[in-house]
């Protein structure tokens, strides 16, 4: 599972929040009650080992800094697999009632799946709500729902179009396409003149397509935090994106190979694909495997649906959440807060070439050490500046279902199949919607469709 486009836990989770805090073993009586400074001091001086499940590599320096600040607290980082692999294990541990971590990295899209089972701890009791202004609005909207805060944003994937400027130049293209129509025209030129594809659209990347739908003004999913979800994959925005992609794919000017396979990496390294529409974390995947192409890339905003627009989309990004059952939830929260909220730590995390995390904290996005960094992979371009300005245009409030794992798997079997077969995507979206409705009802939800 790739990093899912990360958007808000749209409609919130107030009722669950109340329920959760009411029966929470972690202490708070209501979600608004604050833990006192004395409680925190006490918690931080209690010998504790925090188990932290994360697949982000390279967090060791920040963890070490935290341990130095709080010598009684040890943090044990565990890579329990990325995305789906981790969620399966986490769910199994929750079901078994043992072996759960204190803190887990959860993609924004998966937060509702864990709030619905009351498996994550609401953080407002520890004062998380006050951190809101420090994060970009889109990132914050992903972790907060109806008055409760379910985790702190760790990273984000504002969508960009990165491309091989040398290949596009051969096709006579010097500027990145401003609109999707231009993108289609350029795709034809690149294919005709160089034989390369301007981009590859991985047929199983629901998050990429959802990011494009978000950009087009769509918001297909929502969850009220109780029993009601809504699914609308037949909206105008979905139709715009589906029809565009259907036509583009059928033109044969873009490829539809599965992503991140060795074949795909080779295709990138060999210039078979001349570009990629991806979250800002994308380049990090290529620096090692396509090192030979370093310096030939340019980063640009994702093309727009209309020339006058300036709207972003998000693909990927995750939060760190405190998992129910933690023996020291205050310390767990303090760790999450330190890692993502402490300015020095968040900055360090974003600048560390090993951590591969695009920042969500405003102070880091504005920091010259980050924004003015000349990135060698992009031939010295200040790409972070580009990404940061895209991040500011990502709409807040994109929603997810409390069963996104099923949703993204079923996407492969419906829309993904249509993409591979180069058939109509909008029709496949209807099929996906039907499956999501059936599944939701079977799981006991009330499902609304427009």
């Amino acid at each position: 599972m790739k990093r899912k486009s990360a958007l808000a836990v749209g409609a919130g989770v107030v009722a669950v929040a109340l329920l959760l805090s009411a029966c929470s073993s972690s202490g708070g009586t209501t979600s608004s009650s604050k833990v006192s400074a004395a409680d925190i001091t006490k918690a931080m001086s209690k010998s504790t080992t925090l188990n932290f499940w994360t697949w982000a590599p390279g967090l060791a320096p920040e963890v070490a800094a935290f341990e130095k600040k709080y010598p009684k607290i040890k943090v044990n980082m565990v890579n329990a697999g990325q995305g789906g692999a981790e969620y399966t294990k986490l769910q199994a541990a929750i079901d078994a009632g043992k072996g759960t971590p204190d803190v887990a990295q959860l993609e924004y899209s998966e937060l509702p799946s864990f709030t619905v089972t009351k498996s994550v701890v609401g953080l407002n009791q520890y004062g998380a709500a006050s951190l809101k202004s420090q994060f970009t609005p889109a990132a914050w909207s992903f972790v907060s729902a109806q008055g409760e805060t379910w985790g702190l944003p760790q990273d984000l994937g504002p969508m960009t179009f990165i491309y091989r400027n040398d290949i596009l130049a051969k096709a006579g293209i010097t500027d990145a396409p401003k609109t999707w129509d231009e993108f289609a025209t350029d795709a034809a030129a690149v294919k005709a003149k160089t034989g390369s594809y301007i981009a590859n659209f991985n047929p199983t990347e629901s998050a990429q397509v959802l990011g494009m739908i978000q950009q087009a003004g769509g918001n297909p999913f929502s969850y009220d935090g109780k029993k009601t979800v809504s699914v609308d994959l037949q909206s105008t925005a979905v139709k715009t994106v589906s029809d565009f992609l259907t036509k583009l794919i059928q033109s044969g000017n873009v490829s539809v190979d599965p992503g991140w396979t060795d074949d795909w990496f080779q295709a990138v390294a060999k210039g078979h694909y001349a570009g990629w529409v991806v979250g800002a974390w994308g380049p990090d995947d290529l620096t090692g495997s396509a090192g030979n192409t370093s310096g030939k890339w340019t980063a640009a905003p994702m093309p727009q649906w209309s020339a006058s627009d300036n709207v972003g989309g998000d693909w990927g990004g995750s939060s760190d959440a405190v998992i129910k059952g933690s023996s020291n939830p205050i310390a767990a929260y303090e760790f999450v807060k330190y890692l993502n909220g402490d300015s020095a730590s968040a900055k360090e995390m974003s600048l560390n070439p090993k951590s591969l995390l695009f920042p969500t904290k405003k102070s880091v996005l504005a920091d010259p050490a980050f924004a003015a960094q000349k990135v060698a992979f992009f031939g010295g371009q200040t790409a972070n500046q580009t990404f940061a300005s895209i991040a500011a245009t990502v709409p807040a409030g994109f929603g997810y279902l409390p069963y996104m794992t099923y949703a993204s798997n079923d996407y492969n079997d419906t829309v993904g199949k249509a993409i591979t077969a180069k058939s109509d995507i909008y029709t496949a979206m209807a099929k996906w919607q039907a499956d999501l409705v059936t599944y939701g009802k079977k799981q006991g939800f009330t499902v609304n469709t427009k």
Binding site: M1, K2, R3, W55, A56, P57, V78, N79, A80, G81, Q82, G83, A85, K89, A92, A93, D95, A96, K98, G99, D155, G157, G259, W260, T261, D262, F265, Q266, A269, K270, G279, W281, G282, D284, D285, G288, S289, A290, G291, N292, G316, L356, L357
Partner: protein, 308 residues
């Protein structure tokens, strides 16, 4: 789970040994050029993946993606890769190898003990209900282990023993095929008169089993041991379902997880050359053991042909 021993996924085959079958000596024949060429061509098919694996282990990720599969890359990175294999994630790889070895040996040992005791009893004692019980067990030989993994998981989850070594070992020690093999073998290899003579001498049943019979069952015991060992070493679905914690993984699940993280993108490490080199390292013990123990395989499986 070697409840079911089958070639795919698990291993084992019904071959009832006919202990006293006369062995043929290989005969000297005129060599056939056509057959030789045909079979050596097939050998290429069987060995090319090994060749590729060895070559690929000497490449960095960049070389892996930019050089021809059956040639060396620009740089010789075998030692760098080996270093990465053993150091990535605090040396998980070594731990996985040790886990695989432990699970396989423990399962094989358990399977041998249970199968030998039961197979011997079915072969050498006439007791009420024996025939019926034997047929029930025999029927279970063919239930695919993969189909059983999920029900076993559900039960174990209820008992709270998932995510422990037991969850992998316990299902693997029940080996109906091994029991069957030993029964057939014992029926032929252990002479009733020997047992009877021992009884007249006043030896207890357990002592007869241990001092008289077990040594006659050697080849079959080795065969069952190897089958169970390989079955557990190669098993994927059972540990995948049962285990939740990296430090408990066997090598198959560990490597598959690394491979998956390469194929996931989005911030995960690209680990292709590490996975490839790890694969090479992990198959060395088994290939070596196989080639070395090949004659035991044959003597156990082949002590005769199939009856039945």
């Amino acid at each position: 789970m070697s409840a079911v021993a089958t070639p795919r996924g698990n291993s084992s085959h019904i071959v009832a040994p006919q202990v006293r079958a006369k062995k043929r000596k290989p005969r000297r024949e005129r060599k056939s050029v056509i057959l030789t060429i045909a079979l050596w061509a097939c050998v290429v098919y069987f060995l090319v993946p090994f060749l590729w694996l060895i070559l690929a282990s000497t490449k960095s990720d960049t070389d892996l993606f930019s050089s021809f599969g059956l040639a060396f890359g620009k740089a010789f990175s075998l030692f760098t890769n080996l270093g990465a294999v053993f150091s990535y994630e605090n040396g998980s790889f070594g731990l996985w190898l040790a886990n695989s070895a432990f699970y396989s040996l423990a399962s094989a040992f358990g399977a041998v003990v249970l199968s030998t005791l039961a197979g011997y009893a079915f072969a050498k004692y006439k007791f009420s209900g024996g025939r019926g019980i034997f047929s029930v067990i025999l029927g279970a030989i063919m239930i695919p282990s993969a189909a059983l993994a999920l029900p076993t998981y559900l039960l174990f989850a209820n008992l709270g023993i998932t995510n422990t070594a037991w969850a992998v070992i316990l299902p693997s020690i029940v080996n109906p095929f091994g029991m069957y093999l030993l029964r057939i073998y014992a029926a032929e290899a252990v002479d009733d008169n020997l047992i009877e003579a021992a009884r007249i001498d006043g030896a207890g049943e357990l002592r007869i089993f241990w001092q008289v019979s077990v040594r006659l069952l050697g080849p079959a015991i080795v065969t069952v041991f190897l089958l169970a060992l390989v079955g557990t070493w190669n098993n994927y679905i059972l540990p995948l379902i049962m285990l939740n914690q990296s430090s408990l993984y066997p090598i198959t699940v560990g490597l598959a997880q690394w491979a998956a993280s390469s194929n996931q993108g989005g911030g995960a490490r690209v680990l292709f050359s590490t996975v490839i080199t790890g694969s090479l390292v992990s198959i060395i013990p088994l290939v070596a053991a196989f080639l070395y123990l090949q004659r035991y395989w044959q003597s156990g499986l082949s002590a005769g042909s199939v009856k039945g």
